[in-house]
Symmetry: C2
Subunit: 259 residues, 2 copies
DNA sequence: ACAATAACTTCCATAATATGGATTTATTGG
DNA sequence: CCAATAAATCCATATTATGGAAGTTATTGT
């Protein structure tokens, strides 16, 4: 009994893209793709051919190996802005990075993940787990991500948690408890020490839509020494200020940018 | 008589993505998508639903309008590196931007287009036509793009020119002549004054694979005043040097990065 | 506020399309 | 150079996408 999606071929094609995206930079062989996606080899061949034709996949050098093509980069750059969010938040990030001297991230929600939309480092020290722009973590792993999760409405929160529990555990981390999330909601920020990486402190505040939906978060990454408890609250306060400014920009823009 | 692709549904789905990518940031309505892609409306609906499920499309705010989703940004960031090219070229770009004081671009070929992979500006003055990272122009429009075109093998060059002629004319620019391209091949760089934008000078040198295929170009954008003929050749010489260094890195990396 | 219109969603019989087993051709490795 | 493995191609089959029609839900105009 197959699933009743009505667009099997498209979904399979997208699955191929995601499989190749997850592969190492030497690329993937057709057979591997077929196996990874649970497709017969001729089927994979057809899908790959179509994706290649469109520039979504390219051959590695002169081999048969396949890798993501630049078309995705092109499209990705177009969608990157998330409807003005990145642009609206950029100045805030710059200010925060400069003021704190640490590394600031803009994380936005995408389905069950949070994606790093932008990043400003005052001095290139830290590469956090979600460090690189374009990187994604399951909602619930990492401060920015967890802040967004915490501020979702009850029902959605449960759904996301259920969906992500296994993924997070598989990555060797633990899943935030209900109490953790409630605490984050209460004080309006998330603070993590030594959670994803030893010696690294992370903290984040949410960016909410006028309707009270969390769409993104501003996160900070720093070493434990640089961000002691004493300084933390100051920094968080500044971050909240900036988050509010971004919210104001979002609210005032006539095209709802909110997701 | 339909085309014999063997993956109609996938191709249609990709067409939907590209249509939405070309749309303004307020997003697109289902009907518009259907019309733009030549699909019946229920068909478009099914494809859109699948793409939305995968995070490739999102609803704008709480409306029904559709816009590119962050999944594309995610995948795009993964593929952005073009197999090490961007990383290999980054230091060269930084050096060139610092040394020249102008704006440097890394353009890479993607099918019939050249995509801006990276950009370094010494001082934020110019926004060239292909300025933003992720932007694409048809091969034959803009210096970096034209340099790549010029260095393609005869047959491929003709094919690309035929494919792009209309597109370039439609954008209100003219298509490089055979003589233009031959000249670029001969002197190893492309120089354009007042071509795409008045008062702006562009120039570019190709980056070739060991097998003599152009995969990318380093381009410079500056105002006419900043880049007079006298300075031009110096700058070009430096750019050629850097291009050669990048070629060396590419050649020495065991995974062929070459496209 | 209500009607009229347009956009979106769902349904389903039909046929066009994707499917995958079998085969040929190319590539890789010993 | 030959064996083994992977990729490309073929094609009869039935699964899957298709699009007309009808039912809902927004949007627009009066």
């Amino acid at each position: 009994m197959k699933k009743q999606s009505g667009a099997q071929a498209l979904e399979r094609g997208l699955a191929v893209l995601e499989a190749v995206a997850a592969a190492p930079p030497e690329g993937m062989r057709l057979t591997e793709i077929a196996e990874m996606c649970g497709l017969e080899q001729p089927t994979a061949h057809r899908l790959v051919a179509a994706l290649e034709r469109g520039g979504y996949l390219t051959r590695v050098g002169d081999t048969k190996r396949l890798r993501l093509g630049l078309k995705l980069f092109q499209l990705g750059a177009t969608g990157a802005d998330a409807g003005g969010l990145a642009a609206a938040a950029r100045p805030a990030l710059v200010r925060l990075a400069a003021a704190s001297g640490d590394c600031m991230f803009l994380m936005a929600r995408s389905g069950f993940d949070a994606v790093c939309l932008d990043r400003q480092d005052a001095n290139y020290t830290i590469r956090s787990l979600t460090g690189h722009v374009g990187g994604a973590t399951p909602l619930g792993l990492g401060p920015g991500s967890t802040t967004i999760l915490a501020h979702l409405p009850e029902a959605e929160r449960a759904e996301v948690l259920a969906a992500n529990r296994e993924r997070i555990l598989a990555l060797g981390h633990d899943v935030p408890s209900k109490a953790d999330l409630a605490a984050i909601r209460k004080c309006g920020f998330c603070h993590e020490v030594n959670r994803s990486v030893a010696g690294i402190v992370g903290a984040a505040v949410p960016i909410m839509t006028p309707k009270g939906h969390p769409i993104a978060a501003i996160a900070i990454g720093a070493t434990e020494a640089r961000l002691p408890e004493t300084r933390l609250l100051d920094v968080i306060a500044t971050m909240k200020d900036e988050a509010r400014k971004i919210e104001a920009i979002i609210a005032s823009s006539r095209d709802g940018l909110l997701s």
